[in-house]
């Protein structure tokens, strides 16, 4: 659908985007994930031709060209953060995209009706936009952006200010819009949302893309410490590759040694070992010392926090390192895990992911 080449954007000397190279495929949901201020909105605005890039270019696989901006722009649409609406009726808001395309009134009427059904706001035509709730506003914004059937839709934090119920409604709506083949670029700071909706994710940090990949790649094989931390890899241990034997290698961290899958690293290299909280198992105390588990650490539970739902989060002090472990509630109950008790942890060999140590 589109490809960018070395896209840069700066505002009055302040760099907002740096060397962005990405490709968005037709029909996919592409998430741009990053913390606030990472440049997500700027990236979307540049792609939507609202801002001129300071450098680099965008290649669209769409009719029209950079010269015929209007024709090109009319193939895409953007839903802005906080859904700014015109101070008019819902009907006039939703109809706007067709009005400027000089569509006939009969067609507009029929399409507005159909689009309002899609977003679940039938019968809202004559309501003034100013009287709507946050969730309703967001859905009207979606109706406005989709009524003229764009091929490419940009969504800027569509659920940022919504309660969980409305968040669910919007997420479902995004999938429904995507189904007939509309390409969607979704900017969000919520990793769960990106994971649930996107086929591919780009992690944006301070104007730079840290990693692009499928959700699995991003979550289980982060390439940088930033990505690892941002997607919720709580346990990151700095260390050095001690030795390498076939498909495994030994990494010495400050407090303990870990056996991890071998990859391109060599002995002596500075690395980080990452493991997600849900990949650490709590073993029963009476499990014999010598078992199939390769990385077994002993520590003391210092804190237990409910994660809502079925999971509990344990903080386990192992020497000077505090490990974060997610266990199912029923397991914790059976094992009688309590603050102050000892716990034996197993760090699954296959789930330990090694990245290069960067000194940022």
């Amino acid at each position: 659908m589109l490809r960018t080449e070395n896209l840069c954007k700066s505002f009055e000397g302040k760099v907002a985007l740096e060397e962005i190279n990405l490709e968005i495929k037709k029909g996919e949901i592409f998430a741009v994930l990053g913390p606030s201020g990472a440049g997500k909105t700027t990236l979307l605005r540049v792609l939507n031709l609202l801002e001129k890039p300071s450098n680099g270019r965008i290649l669209f696989h769409l009719p029209g060209s950079e010269k015929e901006k209007l024709a090109l722009r009319r193939k895409m649409a953007m839903v802005f953060q906080e859904a700014p609406l015109f101070n008019r009726s819902v009907y006039e808001n939703v109809a706007y995209g067709l009005k400027v395309r000089k569509e006939r009134e009969v067609v507009i009427k029929e399409r507005v009706e159909r689009t309002l059904v899609l977003v679940g706001l039938s019968g809202y035509e004559s309501r003034n936009a100013a009287t709507l709730s946050g969730g309703e506003r967001q859905r009207v914004a979606f109706a406005m952006a989709t009524i003229f059937e764009p091929e490419l839709l940009f969504l800027d934090e569509p659920t940022a200010n919504l309660d969980p119920v409305n968040e669910g409604i919007i997420e479902e709506l995004i999938l429904r819009i995507n189904r007939p083949g509309v390409t969607i670029v979704l900017a969000t700071h919520k990793q769960a949302e990106a994971l649930a909706l996107a086929s591919r994710i780009a992690i944006l940090n301070s104007g730079r893309i840290e990693q692009i990949g499928t959700p699995e790649e991003i979550f289980y094989e982060p390439k940088t410490r930033f990505v690892a931390e941002f997607v919720g890899t709580k346990n990151i241990f700095e260390g050095e590759v001690k030795s390498k034997h076939g498909n495994k290698m030994l990494v010495a961290t400050k407090n303990f040694d870990l056996e991890v899958p071998s990859n391109s690293f060599n002995a002596g290299e500075q690395v980080c070992v990452c493991i997600r909280p849900e990949e650490i198992m709590v073993l029963r105390e009476d499990v014999p010392a010598k078992t199939a588990h390769r990385n077994v650490l002993s520590g003391e539970i210092t804190q237990i926090i409910s994660q809502g739902g079925a999971m509990l989060r344990l903080y386990v002090q192992v020497q000077e390192e505090c490990l974060v472990v997610d266990v199912p509630r029923h397991v914790a109950k059976v094992m009688n895990l309590k603050i102050g008790k000892k716990a034996k942890l197993s760090l699954k060999f296959g789930s330990c992911h090694v990245i290069l140590r960067d000194n940022r």
């Binding site: 605005r45 939507n48 609202l50 209007l70 722009r73 009319r74 895409m76 649409a77 953007m78 802005f80 906080e82 700014p84 609406l85 015109f86 101070n87 008019r88 706007y96 995209g97 400027v100 395309r101 914004a141 406005m144 952006a145 003229f148 940009f154």
Partner: protein, 237 residues
């Protein structure tokens, strides 16, 4: 007479003038409405496109221009009257138009007074329509002129306020139209260029304070009605 008595008598005279449909008062009121109405109407037709042009175009000296317009909001009416005098008196550059001491000259004077206010407040109203609204329209495929129209429509309350402010300035003003219009009334009491506001000056100069107050009350009543109508319009929209 004490000042309270002046007010009381002024009020009574105002009511009497209105109830008896005093032809002099009606004629003066008509000239006022004709002059101020045309001046504000022409100013609106001129100011709103001008404000849109300034608001939407980026050009060198834009900020200075806006500051200049805001400064002109406080233009002393007498100065405007003198400018009209210099340009439109027979020996002036526009003297050939024979507009001096006519209602047209008064319209021009009030137009000059109202335009900076209507333009300035409209520019402010247009810029108050946030960038998100403009971006939304552009993103939805609007052309430049679509966006301009949209922003004007979104700013309609602000523009209405601008019109009211311009109207208020024009209707209350005396100095400029006194010079430009000559404050002429025909022998039988039919007004040519005398308005309610200049009639107040005439009565005050004659020492008839109660009559001056009466005219003032009628002027206020008209200003109030116009404001009321436009506010009702706002409420309905």
């Amino acid at each position: 007479m004490s000042s309270v008595e002046f007010l009381y008598e002024g009020l009574a005279r105002a009511v009497e003038m209105i109830l008896t449909l005093d032809p002099y008062v009606i004629s003066v009121t008509k000239v006022q409405l004709k002059v101020t109405g045309s001046a504000v109407l022409l100013s609106v037709l001129f100011s709103i496109p001008l404000a849109a042009l300034i608001s939407f175009k980026e050009f060198l000296g834009k900020r200075i221009l806006i500051i200049l317009i805001d400064t002109c909001m406080g233009l002393p009416p007498v100065v405007v009257g003198l400018v009209v005098f210099i340009f439109f008196i027979s020996s002036g550059p526009l003297g050939f138009l024979n507009l001096f001491y006519t209602p047209a000259a008064m319209v021009i004077a009030q137009f000059i007074l109202a335009t900076p206010i209507i333009t300035g407040v409209t520019i402010a109203a247009l810029s108050a329509v946030g960038k998100p609204i403009r971006d939304t329209a552009i993103s939805l495929g609007a052309t430049r002129s679509d966006v301009v129209w949209l922003v004007i429509r979104e700013a309609k309350f602000g523009i209405l306020t601008a019109m009211l402010a311009g109207f208020g300035r024009a209707i209350a003003e005396v100095g400029a139209i006194l010079i430009a219009g000559g404050n002429i009334v025909y022998w039988g009491g039919e007004s040519y260029t005398r308005t309610l506001s200049t009639a107040i000056v005439v009565e005050a100069d004659r020492g008839d304070i109660a009559a001056a107050i009466a005219f003032g009350i009628i002027l206020l009543a008209i200003a109030f009605s116009v404001n009321l109508c436009l506010n009702l319009l706002k409420r309905r929209a």
